[in-house]
Symmetry: C2
DNA sequence: GTCTATATGCCGATAGAC
DNA sequence: GTCTATCGGCATATAGAC
C-alpha cells in the first residue's frame, strides 16, 4: 500500500561531516521536529496526531515542518527508522565469554533504564507492534531474527555449560523485554496502583532488584 | 474534554430479560458491531479506524451503525466498558486459602489463555494505556487499585507463611501481566522470531511452562 | 527558507424518503 | 429500522509572495 515509496532519510549521519552553520541549524531543526513527533505519535498514534501540534511542540510553523519533511507519513517513517537503531543496540552486548548471571542482570538494568529514559520510544515501538508493524516488515524481520537467534545460541551455550538452568532462550528474552518495557508502556497503570514511576530513584532500584530476583531465582521458597 | 457525556450502554445485560425476537435481533446486531469495532480499534486505533470499515466488517451499513451508536466515540466507550468487565475478572480468583504456587501457576495459565483467545481485547487495553488511558481515569483508577491492593495482601500473607519467597507483590503481579500479555500485543514480533504463535498448541504449552518456570524458579542454576 | 492563503480530499454525522 | 444522498468540518498539503 503506502510502503512503496519509503525513503530512508539519513541526514542524521551527516552530523559528523562538520557541516556549515546553515546545515547545522537545519539539522537541529529536523531533530527538534522528530523529537516532537516521537512524543506525540507515541501518545496519540499517527492518525491521532495533527501536524500542527507537532510543529507547535517543535516551535516551528506547520508549513515549515512540511518543508523539511514531505509528509506526515514520511516523518513517521524517519522517526521509526531512527528509533530502531537505538532500540536493538542493547541486545548486542550479550556475549558468551561474559558471566551469564551478570550479563542478564546488566541487560535487565539497561532495558529498564531505557524504559525510564526513553519512554516515548518504548511506546511508539509498542504501538507499531499493535498495528501489526506494517512498516517494519523488511526493516525488522530478518535482521531482528538473526540477532535474537545468535543471542539465543549464547544462552544455550551457557545452559550447556551449567551456568544457567534449562530454559527456552527465546522465552527468557521475551520475558526480559516484556517486564522491563511494561513500566514505560503501562506507566499510567503502574502509577494508578503504586503512585510511583521509574523517575523515582528508589522505585527504579526496587523495580530493578525485584525483576532481577524474579527472573533469576523465581518466587518459589527454598 | 470529551469525557463529559460518557454514557454506559448496558443494553447487554438486557439479554437475560428474554426479550422479543426484535430486541434479540437488535442485540445481535449491536454485538456484531462491537466485536468488529474491537477488532479494528485494537489494530488501527480509534482515529485510524473508519466507521465505514467497522460497518463493513459487521455487515451493516454505515448509517445503520450510527443508528445504533450515536457516534464513533460512544461506540468506543461502550467497547471499552465491556472489555473492562472481562479484563479484570481473572485476578479476583486469588485467594489466601488456596495454595500459593498452584494459584500463581493457574493465574499465569488463565492470563495466557486470555492472550490466546482474546488478543484484540489485550491490544485495545494496551493501546488505551499507551494513550494515557484518558477514558479510564474514573472507571479504572480506584477499583483497580483496590483490587490489586487486596491481592497484594494475599501474596504478602503467603510470604509471611513461608509459602513464597520474599518479593514485592506488585512487581510480581506486573511481571505476570506483562509477560503473558506480551504474546498477544507483540504477536508480530514473536512470529517474526519464532515463526509460531499461541494458536499452536505445542507453542502455547511451551510458553506456559517456560513462564511458570521462570517466575517460580528463575533461571539461576541450583 | 519562511510566511499567508487556499486547495483538496476524506470522513463522521444528518436529512429525509420509504 | 434502513436506505440514498449530502452536508460540513477538519487536517494535509500546496501555491505563491517575500
Amino acid at each position: 500500500m503506502s510502503s512503496e515509496k519509503i525513503t530512508v532519510n539519513s541526514k542524521t549521519s551527516q552530523a559528523l561531516s562538520g557541516g556549515s552553520k546553515r546545515s547545522r541549524a537545519k539539522l537541529d531543526k529536523k531533530n527538534a521536529i522528530m523529537q516532537a513527533a516521537l512524543e506525540l505519535f507515541s501518545r496519540h498514534g499517527v492518525k491521532g496526531t495533527r501536524v500542527e501540534k507537532i510543529a507547535a511542540l517543535a516551535k516551528v510553523s506547520k508549513t515549515n515542518l512540511l518543508y523539511y519533511f514531505n509528509s506526515k507519513e514520511q516523518l513517521y517513517i524517519d522517526v521509526m527508522q531512527r528509533l530502531l537503531q537505538v532500540w536493538l543496540a542493547p541486545l548486542a552486548s550479550f556475549n558468551e565469554e561474559q558471566d551469564a548471571i551478570e550479563t542478564i542482570n546488566d541487560y535487565i538494568r539497561v532495558k529498564l533504564e531505557l524504559s525510564r529514559d526513553h519512554p516515548a520510544e518504548s511506546r511508539l515501538f509498542c504501538m507499531e507492534m499493535l498495528h501489526g508493524a506494517p512498516l517494519l516488515e523488511d526493516q525488522l524481520k530478518s535482521p531482528l531474527k538473526e540477532l535474537v537467534d545468535s543471542k539465543a545460541a549464547v544462552i544455550n551455550a551457557w545452559i550447556a555449560a551449567g551456568k544457567l538452568a534449562p530454559v527456552d532462550p527465546y522465552h527468557l528474552i521475551f520475558t526480559i523485554w516484556s517486564t522491563t518495557q511494561h513500566y514505560a508502556d503501562f506507566r499510567v497503570q503502574i502509577e494508578s496502583i503504586t503512585s510511583k514511576n521509574l523517575d523515582d530513584p528508589a522505585f527504579f532500584e526496587n523495580t530493578l532488584s525485584n525483576l532481577q530476583s524474579i527472573i533469576l531465582q523465581g518466587v518459589r521458597p527454598n
